[in-house]
């Protein structure tokens, strides 16, 4: 993707982003979202008006430090608990669809 026109987004770009985000959006949604996202991007692009070259970014409001805890055994979920809400389970494990597609 190129950055030559911030604040505008095409239907094709939305389709590409939806694929990256694992969303099987419909054609109707693409039409709808492309228009709405274009309006939203036009509004949020305003952050670019702020001169902030020498301003440090903030990723977290409170300064983060690494937090350690004592390396002690403590109970976790049982296998039964972990699998209780699985869409599919077999032999005490999560059953998942085949990971790779046909062509792989």
């Amino acid at each position: 993707m190129s950055a030559d026109s911030p604040g505008t987004i095409s239907r094709d770009e939305v389709a590409h982003l939806a694929r990256l985000a694992r969303l099987a959006v419909t054609d109707r949604e693409l039409d709808l979202f492309a228009g709405q996202l274009d309006v939203i991007l036009g509004a949020v692009a305003r952050v670019g008006e702020v001169v902030a070259d020498d301003i440090p970014p903030t990723s977290h409001a409170v300064p983060l430090v690494n937090v350690f805890r004592p390396d002690e055994r403590r109970p976790g979920l049982t296998q039964e608990q972990a699998l209780a809400c699985a869409p599919a389970a077999e032999d005490g494990r999560f059953r998942v669809p085949q990971i790779l597609g046909e062509e792989a």
Partner: protein, 502 residues
């Protein structure tokens, strides 16, 4: 007075003195829910049996002469459906988690249980807390008890409406950009966003991790403070939890209720008002500021020049975090799975398409865009710098004032359907609440009368520096006491009565 009309503090007193049993209190609220929730739809799940059982344990302990587990033991509460509960479903208002029973309790849930609070059920919300009207819930909207053709605010519309409909005297919300405070303003109730890290996020299903904060909702400032002290405090299970004592907010409320604010500097934020704000909301707010002045507060005007970029920065940072956080819903370990795809990736895409609603999809796509190479610096990176500038604006303002004030939301509750297809118009609801989330500081909304053009409640927002909750609660309590003394009845008792179904 009916049990459901009492404040949590008054109800607790009756329960602890054994004038009323906790079971009676729970049953009264369950009956009220049965009577009005068909109209209001504040709840996604009502846990009647569990509530009565929990209340009977409180009764048994009190009858045995054991002191109450907390000042709110036996008082019923409505829990936003974004906190995990091992004995109730947790859906976050989303189809992707329909029927999900988490294998563990959130820290907030665990603390409520330990305090003997009766959890009545789980409240409706915009899907994954994305929205300002509760219309983006996959399970249908919640209606505002003040006018059931209007929205109750969002995302915590269910919790706020439950309070205003007298279905519960206490509720829990979460506030990422205003989801506790804006619904409080829309429903004439009190909502508090504590300092980031003040209430544990363990078991709070993430929307935007650097912004999310759980907090208390109630009908009075004292009730919010009592609940705040129960849910707040350090939790080793949340690495962003603040390892410091919970501010003494109950003591602050009791001090504030005496009504003397001399020596307190209140900063009026110049940028939060004017264009885009409903005249009746602004008038109610100005009257509230005058009242604070009459109570002895020194009112000064402060300027926060970067607030005008807050909304833009927020709607880049939030979707970016959302796109990453919601990647966990992959149809493999829990939640919905739509079969029919040839591979895990296809199953994932089909499941997420079916399980997420339009606003969640929009934000995931927006966040994916803002984080993509070529756009990252211009959008996400720049938004993080604006975040720094907003925090600096606050720091400068708090040199001139102890607390800052503004209207909580630019308008009163709007009609359902008005903004649901216009995302940007919906986002503008959060104009005045977003800056505090970006800076991680504390803020609350206290009802400040009704707007004259529509007779609907408006909110006064009070903001305080990180861990400055005591001063904020003091000002809120003083204002509330003066407001109620001037009016004949507390504002919330003026909610029109709802049609009751039996």
């Amino acid at each position: 007075m009916e049990l459901t009309r009492l404040s949590a503090a008054a109800l607790a007193e009756k329960i602890h003195s054994r004038e009323v049993s906790a079971v009676e209190a729970a049953q009264a609220h369950l009956d009220r829910i049965a009577a009005v929730d068909g109209t209001v739809h504040a709840f996604l799940h009502v846990a009647g049996e569990a509530a009565l059982e929990s209340a009977s344990l409180v009764d048994a302990a009190l009858d045995a002469g054991t002191p109450p587990a907390s000042p709110l033991a036996g008082v019923p509460l409505a829990l936003k459906d974004v906190f995990t509960t091992s004995d109730m479903p947790t859906t976050c208002g989303s189809k992707i988690l329909e029927g999900w029973r988490p294998p563990y309790d959130a820290t907030v849930t665990a603390r409520l249980r330990a305090a003997g609070i009766t959890i009545l059920g789980k409240t409706n919300m915009d899907e994954f807390a994305m929205g300002s009207s509760t219309e983006y819930s996959a399970y249908g909207p919640t209606r505002n008890p003040w006018d059931t053709t209007r929205i109750p605010g969002g995302s915590g519309g269910g919790s706020a409406a439950a309070l205003a409909a007298f279905e519960a005297p206490l509720a829990i919300g979460t506030d990422t950009g205003g989801s506790i405070r804006q619904p409080a303003a829309m429903t004439g109730t009190v909502g508090v966003k504590p300092t980031y890290g003040g209430v544990s996020r363990y078991g709070l299903v993430a929307c935007a991790s650097s912004l999310d904060q759980g907090g208390p909702c109630a009908r009075t400032v004292l009730d919010a403070a009592l609940l705040h002290e129960i849910i707040g405090g350090y939790d080793p299970l949340d690495s962003t939890s603040i390892d410091a004592p919970v501010p003494s907010v109950v003591e602050a409320v009791r001090a504030g209720a005496s009504g003397d604010l001399s020596g307190v500097r209140v900063g009026v934020v110049r940028e939060l008002g004017g264009e885009g704000y409903q005249p009746g909301v602004e008038r109610a707010y100005r009257a509230a500021v005058e009242r604070l002045e009459k109570l002895g507060a020194e009112v000064v005007e402060v300027s926060c020049p970067h607030f005008e970029y807050g909304l833009a920065a927020y709607y880049l940072i939030l979707p970016s975090e959302v796109s990453s956080n919601l990647a966990r819903f992959d149809a493999m370990r829990y939640g919905l799975r739509v079969e029919g795809g040839a591979s895990a990736e296809e199953v994932m895409a089909l499941t997420r398409e079916a399980g997420f609603g339009p606003e969640v999809k929009r934000r995931i796509i927006l966040g994916t865009y803002a984080l993509s190479s070529g756009y990252y610096d211009a959008y996400y990176g720049q938004a993080q710098k604006v975040r720094t500038l907003i925090a600096r604006d606050f720091a400068a303002a708090f040199e001139q004032a102890d607390v800052l004030v503004s209207p909580t939301a630019p308008t009163t509750a709007f009609p359902m359907g008005d903004k649901v297809d216009d995302p940007l118009a919906m986002y503008l609801n959060d104009l005045a609440t977003i800056p505090t989330n970006l800076a991680g500081i504390a803020a609350m909304s206290v009802p400040c009368g009704l707007a004259e053009e529509d007779g609907l409640p408006a909110g006064l927002q009070i903001m305080a520096p990180a861990l400055g909750e005591a001063q904020m609660y003091r000002v809120g309590a003083a204002y509330e006491a003066a407001r109620d003394a001037d009016d004949d009845t507390p504002l919330i008792q003026r909610v029109p009565s709802l049609e009751v179904s039996r």
